[in-house]
Symmetry: D2
Subunit: 343 residues, 4 copies
């Protein structure tokens, strides 16, 4: 397969980001079409500008197209598993945005369908492709850090979502921390055994009224005995705060935030630099490209995808366990959570 032909489902923000990245940066790929039930004239023109020939309201038009090799699921979360299954049944490889679905059972079914049909299924945990976090993982893998003992993840957004969004997002753990749960599994190279979540409403009372928290600390215990801790805030006034630290028997690797430049100003007041990159589109710009390049490479070489459906499911279960822990004020084991979910 010289060129991987892609159909994109969903022309919202992330669908557009992927489409533009693929067009500009990913070699050996062609976007055949994009589908969105709400497609409008502006989006149609944007698609034409990128050289995308098919613009349709009908997702199945792309899924069933014999000229399409792979489907990217960028639609609303409640449609994820259905689209994965439809694509798998049509023998199309699938790249799916996180989370894998609103329903873990449907997510599990989608994973099994993909496996049965022999198509690749990659989840959109883009942070694994971040230059900093990937470098830390390399240091773990090459033994520089020794046995992993502590994992610390700082993950703070620059600004809270609207209360309306928060209400439908499934809560901070499913919407935001799920990336950190995946990062924790990725860095630990081990599964999570238990979760203990603390939360607070310190930023926006409306988030609290919607039953969610905006500030959280989550402690994880891993199968290999290591401990992990994640701290979240919905509002870091200085920008997107995305740091990872892995501590082990031979050392400790710490990733600082990216900044737009490496200039330091010494003046009469202080020694200062520019703030970190503002948000995920800036910080994970290259990671968004690299995850697609890895997906395409896996298809072309018939290799393994770097983040698979199970990764998507596990992160989701941890997020649900964190929610339960917060609600009940106690530690929740993953096995308990899975049992409750019928997994």
């Amino acid at each position: 397969m010289s060129v991987v032909r892609i159909g994109i489902l969903g022309a919202g923000r992330i669908g557009k980001v992927h489409a533009e990245n693929i067009t500009r940066f990913v070699k050996g790929v062609k976007i055949v079409g994009i589908a969105d039930p709400l497609i409008d004239r502006e989006t149609t023109e944007w698609a034409k500008g990128l050289g995308i020939e098919i613009v349709t309201k009908d997702s199945m038009r792309l899924i069933d197209d014999p000229e399409v090799d792979a489907i990217m699921v960028c639609s609303s979360t409640d449609t994820h598993a259905d689209f994965i299954m439809a694509a798998a049944n049509a023998k199309k490889h699938v790249f799916c945005e996180k989370p894998i679905d609103l329903s873990v059972l449907k997510g599990k079914e989608a994973i099994e369908t993909a496996r049965r049909k022999g198509v690749k299924l990659q989840l959109g945990f883009n942070r694994r492709f971040d230059h900093n976090f990937r470098r830390i993982r390399e240091l773990v893998e090459d033994g520089s850090i020794g046995d992993v003992q502590l994992i610390k993840i700082t993950s703070r957004d620059p600004a809270p979502p609207s209360a309306a969004y928060a209400a439908v997002s499934g809560g901070i753990f499913l919407d935001m921390t799920i990336h950190d749960f995946d990062m924790a599994r990725y860095q630990a190279g081990s599964e999570v055994v238990s979760v203990d979540a603390h939360g607070a409403v310190l930023i926006d009372p409306e988030i609290g009224e919607a039953g969610d928290v905006d500030t959280a600390i989550v402690t994880l215990v891993f199968e290999n005995g290591a401990l992990g801790v994640i701290d979240n805030s919905r509002k870091a006034v200085y920008g997107y705060d995305q740091r990872v630290e892995v501590f082990g028997s031979k050392g400790c690797a710490v990733a600082a935030n990216d900044q737009p430049n490496r200039v330091t100003l010494f003046d009469g007041e202080s020694v200062s630099q520019d703030k970190p990159l503002y948000f995920f589109l800036e910080r994970y710009k290259d990671a968004f490209v690299d995850e697609i390049a890895a997906f395409v490479e896996a298809i072309r070489t018939d290799g393994d995808v770097p983040v698979d459906g199970t990764d998507g499911l596990e992160a989701m279960v941890i997020a649900l366990a964190a929610g339960k822990s917060l609600k009940e004020g106690r530690r929740v084991t993953i096995s308990e959570m899975k049992k409750e979910l019928g997994l």
Copy 2:
């Protein structure tokens, strides 16, 4: 009072460190004598070299000496409260190493005695005087960080204590994390409401056999709604790892480790710097001096001591609650702990 005359109880490591610091760096103080039941010839000569006139096995010799204004309690922990009370009854001000006693009830009694007798009682939480952590506190106090929302403390020793020491130390929370509990209270400017401790034995199995852990993550909830998290390890191969981060509505202050110099070497392999300062004697060198200077200043000006007996007691209760949380695998409230302790 032009010169504050001090008697030191205990000529062990910390007693000697204080004696040398006072002699060299603290103005307006005179060490009248030092007492230790195990005093030997070498220590006697060391004391003479510092110009300390009285070297005795009898602590009461100093406590009762009318030429002594203040007593520094650097003896073994089980004697702390008794010496505080004896000194207070003799109308001497007291500086006491942490923890305030092995028994919280005796600690409480000592605090009350000091208050009743109108003498000052300062606890040896030296890290409050660290240039980095004090600077963070200033930024909290001057409003630069806004409302405090998250406090993160990294506290890792370069090498574990002997299993023998670990056995009598009261466990990691009373021996090591107690400093971090005080730091958390200091930075938060608020009391701890609940504690949730996770621990693991990842470094030395003998520590586990002695019933203790060598790796821990402790989550705190504060009265003002803020959350805190402390991570501990008994063995950071790169040296003493002492960092504090305070995050709030207006910003975030992060203290990095001190290093012996500011030189960076760029070579064919990497960009490198020297490791952090090795351990507490190096890292808190100036802090050990400054805490005594502050004690002396409080005496001379009849002002408040910066860390009082209650600070010592509160940190100890948190440490005990952490131990209980670890043992029982659940969150423990401070009020529950105090009730259990009869406070």
Copy 3:
């Protein structure tokens, strides 16, 4: 003009870099064709892969093409001025790689031709578009640094060129330092009055045998009274060392090197990070894109180009003056040099 149509002269390394960058990253541009007398099959296929329709050995084929709006001169230095003039006479805008020509007089003639014909002429001083150096310039322009007093430029290559290349390159000042001379003028916002160059052969004796130096320090005096200093080396084993510092009455701005990630590893040996980005293709990746985007924008809006022909000529005169200074062991004024050159 909705799309700027470009013809590229020269399919060597830099011509290819520009072609790929334009295709992937610059909006509103189309590469109509590429010309190179030595064009081979491999290059032809590469060009087709980028969608470039015309691949020719005849530069005039592109210069005379009515479908071409602008010419990029990426050919050998001795052809620069001739191509600028040919393009200008054909009413095409020109982007020309540095230096403007081997001959300053021809360079001057080319500038005048472009001016007379009313076409834009931009020189390829890509470093002005570097995120770090541009940020420093912003700090100068917004007054953060006050009056500029000292400019320091560190510019070291990771590996020396072959002696053969060095022999035809015109020497270190024309080949390498010319970028730094432009940077100095850019940051100072003032013209150079005199040059004083010291040089040494410390890396490769063959460079010395070829009559060149591989290590240099050049001091500049600016019209506004500021002083500047550039240090060069042909071999920094740790990679491309590109730093700029501007010091003034209100402060000092310092640009550090870019590194591939922001990870720090603390281990038993040291505190280390990855080496700086290796060489100019990595370090100035975005700058190469941004300079073309600025050129295209200037054409589209009929605005000024950010680096014009005079900038190219001035940098070249400074380089020649530096060579003369090195040879004669004395300070050389720019006015003296210009007189000698017949400018």
Copy 4:
């Protein structure tokens, strides 16, 4: 010799700094007395407070005292050589502040006298004892940097001296840059062959009227072929800027400025830290102690002093050559300068 007994000549700022440092930090030393023709009541009380018994207007009183082992010359520059010779003749070791004298010939005579009399003579180039610069020198000596090729020294004061002081100081090169000339020789491990100085008056016109400059760049050529450059300013608004960089065949070592703490504040405006330490008393606090400790150690072990009279003389000759270079607008060789000086 168990205790080295010292007499201090000069009770000005630096004499007092040394006296206080010795009293508090240097073991095995006793200050017998201090002499100053302008001694007043306040100074006398200060000396008594330090336990200094002899306070006199008569320098010879200390030089001739059989109870004195070593003399520290902290008096005005024009008296340096005379006091060195008087002390040497009285068989006293000498520590002398820089420069060695106003007259190089007298300086040379003093060195010869000390040598003939077999007493040690150390010059007060305290920066060699700075933790950062000493670390760089270690990296040079242990081969980490390979062959030294470039040395860069940034040396900027936080505030200019009064014009009155500037007038009698001998000019910026003798007063300020002399420390940098010594640092250059120390790091290079090689003698200076030629000097080329550029200067400007950019800060205070009165300094210009007094015939001096306040901003300078000085280029050095070393015997081993390496090049060096020093930049000076009398006014860095952000504090004392003292950095050294040594570049060689195997790498590059860079010393950043010391700051009062390692705290970084991220807020809505920027990422900031506190300014560098203000001036030499803060930055070189420990270096002032360590140079005396090294002097005392050399006496006690009859070893070599780390900075000797010749170091003082060489730095002075370079400073004079720099002055000549600035005045005549050309490079000046050290051999030419020495010939002119009659050395």
